[in-house]
């Protein structure tokens, strides 16, 4: 049978209250963290109908908006904003690029909508080549620090397009390339008309 060593036996005392509180707070903190992480992972994309957080897009040199080399979303209220995320190393982006540019050209004159291109994790020389190839005339800027893309989709892929109405509410999300100019305009026109 086990021989109990006859050493000093501590008197029976439970765990002091402050230690219990500390430990439970720690455990609940961890569980809270995991829960938040799970929720985060489940909903990486900004929901349609929610207001879009303000951001500033610093444009590539050669592009400007209203004489400034950067665009703020808040300055664009009153217009429909079409934000298109692309990258030079992305094949589907290249397939939709002419359509996006054509859609922009057709709506440019009305001054009711603005297209913004955001270059997602790309290198400038290749990006310039892409923009020249497709004659992108709407303002384009790099996604500095990944901050802009994180606002829209924490697991951003390219191409993705986010269409925001005049009041800064996200109204439409396109994951993947647009199939035609008509499809793009079919989303924008109703929004411009105020519906």
């Amino acid at each position: 049978m086990l021989q109990e060593p006859d050493n000093a036996l501590a008197p029976k005392r439970g765990v002091p209250i402050w230690a219990q509180i500390l430990v439970w707070i720690g455990l609940l903190g961890l569980l809270g963290l995991l829960a938040a992480g799970l929720l985060n992972a489940k909903n990486p994309i900004l929901a349609v109908g929610s207001p879009v957080p303000d951001f500033t897009l610093t444009l590539f040199s050669g592009y400007e908006y209203n004489g400034a080399p950067e665009v703020k979303l808040s300055d664009l209220s009153g217009k429909v904003v079409v934000i298109n995320f692309w990258a030079s190393w992305c094949q589907p982006c290249a397939s939709e690029a002419p359509d996006v540019e054509a859609a922009w050209r057709s709506i440019e004159g009305t001054d009711q909508a603005i297209f913004l291109g955001v270059d997602y994790v790309d290198t400038e020389p290749e990006a310039r080549e892409y923009m020249t190839n497709f004659n992108l005339s709407y303002p384009n800027g790099p996604d500095m620090g990944g901050r802009n893309s994180q606002n829209f989709n924490r697991n951003m892929g390219v191409p993705e397009t986010y269409i925001i109405d005049q009041n800064g509410i996200l109204r439409f999300i396109q994951i993947g390339p647009f199939q035609s100019v008509a499809k793009i305009l079919a989303i924008i026109d109703p929004l411009v008309a105020g519906r």
Binding site: P5, A8, L34, A35
Partner: protein, 673 residues
């Protein structure tokens, strides 16, 4: 037909597991042996049923039933037979089946032992193992059904379901996607099962610990009963980790064995607490101390096993390893919540009954060093845990993603592991109980002198890196201490019993298997450290684009690019293979054939390095397939990894050490009973 049978088996085993839990609880509270026996039998029945279900799945995999979604996703016509069998654990659903299968095997093995003396503990051991088993079975049944089949809905989409959606048509693809090429490696066959064996085996001591807490047994019977389980769990987990390292080294193409990827680190964490536990229970057995701490350690180990499994599969943590995101995250979260809270509450409730027996007389006693051992392991655990958790915290709090990578872990864990090596050398020289600086010093100088001599020799040979110097000195120290222990033990027995020295040594080891097995394991750890120090401190790499006939040089070797061949292989791969000659000082040492394989069915590429291995180093050549490879020129990346093979040699050694330590000693056990 078979699919419905398979999922039906799982459903049945799930219900049996639930019944076991209920019957065991009922049996304990009503003190009815009949109910406990019913729980035990129900638990025993689970294993053969799961085996049948798992074999059904294997049959479907091997015979290419691609209408089953899981079969489609992990097998293809061009895969050899053995890979189709091991594809069982190639995907999320199948690996959960493997987990449940192994869990039920171990739970059954535990319930089959003689329980007469511990009848009080049995119900709760059944409860804990059954609850864990039921949890994993529920994941299989509700979320990751390996028997779901392909249907085409009226909308034209292909969906995997168990039962037909309205108006859908059953589809049978002609071929499967096939296993990810990275997983088609001998390491693939053994790494996951070994790892799971380690995880699952740690559930057993945890179950006994909980049983002891619930029933109010404050002695260390539970530790003695699970002594061998702990050792077995430890060795499987260690083997699993080493296999993972070997697999990464062979297959990932960058000649590294550990990347501190969150999933890798998560599988290391239970090993850390498990090793601490393995040591700490020795103090409880010898000196009756640290009962509370040991309870905490085994609870932590179980918690980390579940947490690590969660981390790999929930999509919350980004990793190259992670299974694709699935809905089991919330289930895991609920299970973690329940088990952590319950275990902690039980421990707090019983805290005062785990009487602390405070016989700690000296800072230089063996108990003190065991405590230091625990402190250091916990230190490494904190570093690893925090490094894994922090990116999640950063993303949630600031929205910014950060990477906590190798520099963080190496800087923090390096000194801690170094200190652990030092303790591995010092602790065997200490005595239980009373010991002073003087007595310890007297023991220390004998192995210390040759160790310092080693330092001097290394300095003389030109080694200047202080990390390597300290590291190799500590390695030498542990080696000398081990030799000294075996030598002095053998000599004293030889003198006392008048046996031949070798016989004396054999008898000595035979009668003190845990101690000498432990020394062998420590020895193997420092042998592994030799490999780690070599590659971490002295690795060099170079990359160059070579035309045919050109050379690339590294670490005194010259590699000449001879030719390139491209051809389809027998199992559908398209191989691009380079032929290189290795020279040193003008002498031809051999040829290497770095290649990459293209798998047309999945469109994936796998690099296979050409490696020349010796005890002194590895020459590891990769044909860089992501830069431009043409018949005229090709880019090569060469790694020179000094001493790396000692890492693998050391791992073989610890298996041997484990066998010595764990080999049953019937006479001793009878005496202890």
């Amino acid at each position: 037909m078979l699919a419905q049978f398979g999922i039906g088996m799982f459903l049945l085993t799930f219900l049996l597991a639930l019944f076991s839990v209920g019957a065991a609880v009922a049996g304990y509270f009503s003190k009815s042996d009949r109910w406990v026996e019913a729980a035990r039998r129900s638990m025993l029945l689970i294993f053969p049923l799961i085996t049948v279900a798992a074999l059904t799945l294997i049959y479907l995999l091997v015979t290419g039933h691609y209408e089953i979604e899981y079969v489609y996703s992990v097998t293809s016509n061009d895969m050899p037979f053995y890979l189709k069998v091991t594809a069982l654990w190639g995907g999320q659903a199948g690996s959960l089946v493997l987990w449940s299968w192994l869990m039920s095997a171990f739970a059954s093995a535990v319930t089959l032992r003689k329980w007469e003396r511990d009848r009080e503990l049995l119900p709760w051991v059944i409860v804990v193992t059954s609850v864990t088993l039921a949890f994993f079975l529920s994941l299989t049944i509700l979320y990751e059904n390996p028997f779901a089949r392909w249907w085409q809905t009226t909308a034209g989409d292909f969906v995997p379901r168990m039962f037909a959606p309205a108006g859908a048509v059953a589809i049978t693809p002609m071929d499967g996607q096939g296993l990810n090429p990275l997983l088609r490696h001998p390491g693939m066959i053994v790494h996951p099962p070994m790892l799971y064996l380690g995880f699952v085996a740690f559930v057993i001591p945890y179950a006994f610990a909980i049983a002891a807490l619930v029933t109010g047994h404050s002695d260390d019977r539970w530790i003695r009963l699970t002594r061998r389980w702990t050792l077995v769990a430890w060795v499987f987990l260690s083997i699993g980790l080493v296999l993972g390292m070997r697999w990464a080294y062979d297959v990932l193409g960058w000649g590294g064995y550990w990347a501190w990827d969150p999933v890798e680190t998560a599988s290391l964490m239970p090993w850390l607490t498990g090793t601490a536990f393995l040591h700490s229970v020795m103090i409880q057995e010898k000196r009756g101390m640290f009962k509370q701490w040991n309870m905490l350690l085994i609870i932590l180990t179980y918690a980390l096993v579940i947490f690590g499994t969660f981390l790999t599969r929930s999509g919350v943590f980004s990793s190259v390893h992670a299974f694709s995101q699935s809905a089991i995250g919330p289930m895991f979260f609920a299970f973690i919540g329940i088990t952590f809270v319950t275990s902690l509450a039980l421990l707090i409730y019983r805290w005062k009954d785990l009487r602390a027996e405070v016989e700690m007389r000296s800072l230089f006693s063996r108990e003190a060093f065991f405590l230091l051992n625990n402190l250091l392991f916990m230190g490494v655990l904190i570093v690893c845990f925090w490094g894994v958790i922090f990116p999640l915290i950063s993303e949630l709090v600031t929205g910014q993603k950060v990477t906590v990578g190798p520099p963080f872990y190496q800087r923090a864990n390096g000194p801690l592991f170094g200190a652990l090596m030092a303790i591995m050398g010092i602790a065997p020289l200490t005595a239980w109980g009373r010991s002073t600086a003087g007595t310890l010093g007297r023991m220390l100088w004998k192995p210390a002198i040759p160790s310092l001599l080693t330092t001097v020799i290394l300095l003389f040979l030109g080694m200047r890196n202080w990390i390597a110097l300290i590291g190799f000195t500590l390695v030498a120290f542990v080696i000398f201490v081990t030799i000294y222990e075996f030598w002095s033990g053998g000599r004293s027995r030889e003198k006392k019993v008048k046996e031949n020295f070798l016989v004396a040594l054999w008898q000595l080891v035979g009668r003190n298997r845990r101690r000498y097995g432990g020394y062998l394991i420590h020895l193997s750890m420092v042998v592994m450290a030799i490999g780690i120090l070599g590659i971490e401190v002295y690795r060099t790499t170079t990359q160059k684009t070579l035309a045919v006939g050109e050379d690339i040089q590294i670490a005194g070797y010259t590699l000449r690019y001879n030719s390139l061949a491209q051809f389809p292989s027998t199992d559908g791969r398209f191989v691009t293979r380079a032929n290189m000659s290795v020279f040193r000082d003008g002498k031809l040492l051999g040829n290497l054939y770095p290649r990459y394989d293209y798998y047309p069915t999945s469109g994936q590429m796998m690099t296979v390095a050409g490696v020349r291995s010796t005890l002194a180093d590895d020459l590891y050549v990769v044909l860089v397939n992501w830069e431009n490879v043409s018949l005229i020129q090709a880019p090569f990346k060469v790694y020179h990894n000094p001493l790396i093979n000692w890492l693998w040699i050391g791992s073989l050694m610890f298996i041997f050490g484990f066998l010595v330590a764990a080999w049953p000693d019937r006479e001793k056990e009878k005496r202890e009973e």
